[in-house]
Symmetry: C2
Subunit: 397 residues, 2 copies
């Protein structure tokens, strides 16, 4: 049957993360779950806030069932969008209104819809290494081209000179992901201002209007007194793609939103294009009950301290053992340099000690592995001896 080859390719290629996960399950069945140290998946490990489940029960008990589970407007329930608007304005003072919010089925949907709405064929989207590999799928599925901008390896902030050199007349958008998957780094205000200055300069030079897409599901997962700039306050043509997957530990419920800056050029047209792209991709509305759930939980938070404890234990342990790693200010990943500069080599050696990590050559920079610390604290504790053995193999101390 002459099916779509691109879709077949996309669906047949097993992601390395999936393969590692499957290997982990087999290994666990061989040697016991407690003896496998699976740091591969970026799956939230802390519970959703109590209020989530309390709200679910309350809605079920108090709402008309037909209304609770019925269609909402395609853009999302009005009261939910108003609540999100108020929350954004209270925190970031951007003057947004509910007609600039579009509820989605999660971050992947937010990004896919946004890209589909703004991209014309072969236009370019700049991503910043290291970047979440699925960006390539989102961009290419919207018929755009991926252009990779390099990081400063000392601290994984953005190499502004390299970024500027990557902008062409075909650049339609950039995707900023901060706090970052896989590095855990938060782009500081200096970096943000530098990026936006360049965007304004090049937009003017080329007569284009480059869109800054902020992919920020980890915004609330920061450790200590860290400022995560709200990008609408730095650049006009800004679209925020958000999801509650990490902030409320609801990754499976597929609930997030797109927020457009009120200062965006042709804001109404862009919003309509987003509505059109939602239709084109088969979306009817975001899940109705969970729209109402998150409305009640906008001020809630998962146990961030729990992630921080994990980070501190893992980071300190690995650095003590001689591994090279930026201390991440957010998200739940460590980005560790392979002692042999070969990411796959580190992944393979770690596997021998039943440590499962992700080799990141496809994330835009060679020689690093991602270690997710959204795991049980005690698993990190039990894994230290295994990391010691790995360090020994590399003669790190």
């Amino acid at each position: 049957m002459n099916i779509n080859k691109k879709m077949l390719e996309l669906g047949s290629k097993r992601s390395i993360i999936r393969e590692i996960f499957e290997f982990g399950k087999i290994r666990a069945s061989e040697i016991g779950k407690e003896n496998v140290y699976d740091f591969s998946l970026g799956n939230p490990s802390v519970k959703p806030p109590k209020k989530v489940d309390e709200t679910i029960v309350s809605l079920v008990n108090n709402c008309n069932s037909t209304a609770l589970h019925g269609y909402t407007s395609a853009t999302g329930d009005l009261e939910v969008r108003k609540a999100i608007t108020n929350n954004i304005n209270k925190r970031f003072n951007v003057g947004i209104n509910e007609n600039l919010i579009y509820m989605t089925c999660g971050a992947a949907a937010s990004l896919s819809i946004t890209l589909r709405a703004i991209l014309n064929e072969d236009e370019e989207v700049i991503v910043f290494a290291p970047f979440f590999t699925e960006y390539r799928v989102f961009i290419e599925s919207a018929f755009g081209k991926v252009v990779v901008s390099n990081p400063l390896e000392k601290d994984f902030q953005i190499d502004l000179a390299d970024f500027e050199s990557k902008i062409t007349p075909k650049t339609k958008a950039i995707i900023l992901n901060s706090p970052n998957n896989p590095s855990g780094v938060v782009y500081n205000e200096q970096t943000i201002k530098g990026v936006c200055q360049i965007l304004n300069k090049k937009s003017k030079e080329f007569g284009t209007e480059i869109v800054l897409i902020s992919d920020e599901p980890y915004r609330e997962l920061v450790y200590g007194d860290i400022n995560v700039p709200y990008l609408m306050n730095y650049y006009n043509n800004c679209i925020v793609c958000y999801s509650f997957s990490k902030s409320l530990s609801l990754p499976g419920e597929r609930i997030g939103y797109i927020a457009i800056s009120p200062k965006l050029t042709e804001v109404k047209n862009v919003y309509n294009a987003i509505c059109g792209a939602g239709r084109a991709l088969g979306y009817v509305c975001a899940p109705s009950m969970f729209q109402k759930v998150i409305k009640e939980c906008l001020d809630c938070s998962v146990d961030i301290e729990s992630y921080k404890k994990n980070r501190d234990l893992l980071y300190n342990s690995l650095v003590k053992l001689g591994f090279n790693c930026i201390k991440p200010d957010g998200a739940f990943y460590l980005f560790v340099k392979s002692p042999s500069n070969d990411a796959f080599d580190m992944y393979e050696k770690a596997k021998q000690f039943n440590i499962l990590i992700v080799p990141c050559d496809d994330f835009g920079i060679k020689g690093y592995c991602r270690i997710s610390y959204c795991v049980a604290y005690d698993m990190i504790e039990r894994s230290i001896p295994a990391f010691e053995k790995l360090a020994k193999v590399y003669k790190l101390n």
Copy 2:
């Protein structure tokens, strides 16, 4: 800003159904809600089965919260797919297994993903008038071309001769929707056999493998002893697109599935292409909690009798008044011929009596209006005098 014009167009065009709905709200605020007879939307009006909300509460109280709301496999939770498999095999004896089920975010997602997976640019998809207008969006968004096959106006079964004449070497798929939106008709076994015979004949003649897509969210909404043939039992290259929106009154929760016939050519490749298309359209997994909810509710049903009562009252009343309408065996729509043969004229005249119905010229056949009876029974009762006035205007009796 040079955004995607096709997406802008899709998002800017207000659907007529949306406009009618908005008009209805305004009218209701002017003359009182009870005096507006809104038959425009196809929104389930009966409650979800009690078991849905009971299951939600039970899951929340008994499951680990992180697991309940966490990611499932992209194809859906294994136990959920097994349960659906057992349900399908028990009812239809098709020998399907859980690896041929792909959980989705509703019927629109099921169709969009399926079409994206199998279509190459400019391939043709045959739809059967009258058809759900959104098929055009799904097909064209997957870069296919819509070809319309005509009905037999006497009973809205399929005009097989016209269907056969519409098949070309570029025909990749057909979409059968039974029970039908907007006609409420169930394609009988004779029609189905005729369609499949032609598909086999033309597939052979052109050396192609035409896919039969069955869009069947209304399968369970049938009145009386009506057989709705399960199409996998009539044709090998069959893909079923299902959703629980109508059968369990959960349209806002976005939960459904794609089921591939085990007899489909290159079944593994097609399944992989579906997985790839899901990724390409921004889907990560179907909403996790509701996957588990529907697993417990596969044998449940909404109050079908309630829809039947509505159908009987409305159909009998309209026929008595002299309107021309096929008696529908399923779904919750009446497809009524405009007495002036002009659909828009009937829509406009009805509006004058505060009756809101949908003119269906865009559904592939001219001169009909859709009247949705998924409404409160008493609204139908109160609307009869208004329909009498409409009949008088057309001098029907």
